[in-house]
């Protein structure tokens, strides 16, 4: 068989909106876990946000964290169970806003974990409010006239910040809007998981994503808008990879 659904991705109907990037990433993660033979050795941490129910779809052990705290949970779990594959799956509100401290410190402690970071520049679950990653000029429920520096400050490039931390091993920014991008994103997740199992430090895989519901666009238009606007500010590619040096 050339193509199949990963066994770990169960048949529960997903709550994600049609067109949302979560669905694609939800397929890549279990594919990588299966390919690495880590099905019975994975402990995953879900966030608060759209991916709060990630545990309903991917059949590994999950802990559901409080908003922003997933990297703290993961730090403890990995230290207490060093031979387990431990990763968090978080959105931009969870990771880059309320959980900034947990994110930065877990990464800089060189915890042997991977953070999968879905950046769609908006709070999806609560109905489309401004996120730390919302682009300037972008309209949301809490910046209905567009994000302005004088009112809201600048969007946060937390992935660039993470790349500057001594504790991080592999920091990359990917997307899943084309087949080629999906393949690159999968390789990035695999590399991050492998580095975390090899004890090479912390790993951050950002996936620049669409939120067509929050952005109030069709899925096709959201992908185009992402290419034209998001990638301008959030450049795709590896920001740091010291894994092969260590």
């Amino acid at each position: 068989m050339v193509y199949k659904k990963p066994t770990l991705l169960n048949d529960t109907p997903m709550h994600y909106c049609p067109g949302c990037s979560h669905g694609v990433v939800h397929k890549l993660v279990p594919e990588v876990i299966e390919e690495m033979g880590m099905t019975d050795k994975t402990i995953a941490i879900s966030p608060v946000g759209c991916a709060v129910f990630a545990y309903k779809y991917i059949d590994v052990d999950w802990q559901e964290a409080a908003h922003g705290r997933a990297p703290a949970l993961a730090s403890a779990v990995k230290r207490l169970w060093p031979d387990r594959l431990v990763f968090t799956y978080q959105g931009d509100g969870d990771l880059a806003c309320i959980g900034t401290a947990e994110t930065i410190h877990a990464l800089n402690r060189a915890e042997n974990i991977t953070i999968i970071f879905i950046n769609n520049a908006i709070y999806g679950m609560t109905g489309g409010q401004m996120a730390p990653t919302t682009l300037l000029g972008m309209k949301t429920a809490t910046c209905p006239y567009g994000r302005e520096v004088s009112l809201h400050g600048y969007p946060l490039k937390i992935t660039e910040l993470a790349a500057n931390l001594e504790g991080t091993c592999y920091v990359t920014r990917q997307s899943v809007h084309t087949v080629a991008a999906i393949n690159r994103a999968k390789r990035a997740i695999r590399k991050a998981f492998e580095y975390s199992m090899q004890g090479k430090g912390s790993n951050l895989v950002e996936i620049v994503s669409t939120c067509n519901s929050g952005w109030k666009m069709s899925p096709a238009k959201a992908n185009k808008w992402m290419e034209e606007n998001m990638f301008e500010f959030y450049h795709l590619g590896d920001l740091k990879d010291t894994g092969s040096d260590k």
Binding site: A72, L73, A101, E102
Partner: protein, 359 residues
């Protein structure tokens, strides 16, 4: 026997040694006066080289308690310690642990508040510890040590109760018990559980799907109201069972008492001295010391109200436990409160004066 050796140390140090000895898997904390010696002692003892216990200084109390959540959710025996302002920061995580029914130990070495308050001893977090503290309907199992020996002994007891009921437990001490040095016998060494033992003992824990079992999920979330009510009712039934089985208290000179003091922790030690002074003046007073603050010894205090003419709640706060005493007494006898605030410890003589004035 080496284990029976009497040693001298601070209450905070006793907590650290007891944690290592009872097979604790992980400690996650953040410095705050007057409890920093717990983390300092652990760092000095390096248990990761002996028992394999993980010790980690987190970036905040918010992070420490969430590390405890993660560790507890994976079946490990994990703990944190802090003092009042830090414990306030932990309330979110504690509520999540109560909701997800996770066993863990939280130590609060109380200092005076509100706000940044003082670094001197206080018992002003009684409400926070015993009435939930964070959001939602929940209780912690709360143990109140009155000596350095009990600081050490209650670590293992708290873990035992926490795992028995899958509920977070708290040791509610204060700056006096944490900082004072006293002789004690440290508990004997107990090995940490093996991973196989943890997997067997905690089949609910997220240990990885060992042996291909079904996924385990630790969450406090349930959006369907009917299901959430069922979960809440189950948790409440657990609390009723704890109330029925786990009340612990000490009685002191109550047999012939005309009056009773109810006091916990440091205040109970002051009460004993006050009782000695009062009895030398012909006033027959005794003490009931709740050891578990939750579950509270309601029935015992109810019985006490049938025997004495008045009850004094001696607390190092503005009057918190006195509310639970009044609920137990149901107006049968007068119940008064006396306490000092701001980190001041009541003097035994002033307690005797209060007793004379009150009844």
């Amino acid at each position: 026997m080496a284990d029976q050796e009497i040693t001298l140390m601070k209450g905070n140090e006793a907590i650290a040694h007891a944690a290592i000895r009872c097979g604790c898997d992980g400690y996650f904390g953040y410095p705050i006066t007057p409890q920093s010696e717990v983390l300092e002692t652990l760092a000095e003892q390096k248990p990761w080289e002996t028992t394999g216990m993980v010790v980690l200084q987190a970036e905040s109390e918010v992070s420490s308690i969430n590390m405890v959540y993660g560790g507890a959710a994976s079946g490990k025996k994990v703990m944190t310690s802090s003092s009042s302002p830090g414990v306030s920061l932990m309330q979110e995580g504690i509520s999540y642990m109560a909701g997800a029914e996770l066993p863990a130990l939280i130590v609060n070495v109380m200092r005076g508040g509100p706000g940044l308050g003082t670094i001197q001893p206080s018992q002003s977090d009684y409400f926070q510890a015993c009435k939930g503290g964070g959001h939602g309907d929940y209780h912690l199992i709360v143990l109140a040590p009155a000596s350095v020996q009990e600081m050490a002994d209650f670590v293992d007891l708290a873990f035992t109760l926490a795992f028995r009921y899958r509920n977070p437990a708290m040791i509610l001490a204060d700056g006096a018990i944490g900082q004072m040095m006293e002789k004690l016998v440290l508990p004997p060494f107990k090995p940490r559980r093996t991973e196989e033992e943890i997997i067997k003992e905690c089949p609910w824990a997220t240990t990885g799907r060992v042996g291909g079992r079904k996924p385990n999920i630790i969450t406090s979330l349930e959006l369907r109201s009917e299901e959430m009510e069922i979960i809440n009712n189950r948790i409440q039934a657990k609390y009723r069972e704890i109330e029925a089985k786990e009340v612990r208290f000490e009685e002191f000179m109550l047999d012939d008492a005309d009056y009773a003091i109810v006091a916990f922790g440091s205040a109970a030690r002051i009460a004993k001295k006050s009782i000695e002074i009062a009895r030398s003046q012909g006033i027959k007073v005794g003490l009931l010391r709740p050891i578990t603050l939750w579950p509270f010894p309601t029935e015992e205090i109810k019985k006490l109200a049938g025997k004495v003419k008045g009850i004094l709640s001696l607390e190092i706060n503005a009057g918190q436990m006195v509310e639970d005493i009044r609920l137990a007494v149901e107006g049968k006898v007068p119940v008064r409160h006396f306490g000092r605030l701001g980190g001041i410890i009541p003097d035994p003589d002033e307690v005797v004066d209060v007793l004379k004035r009150s009844f």
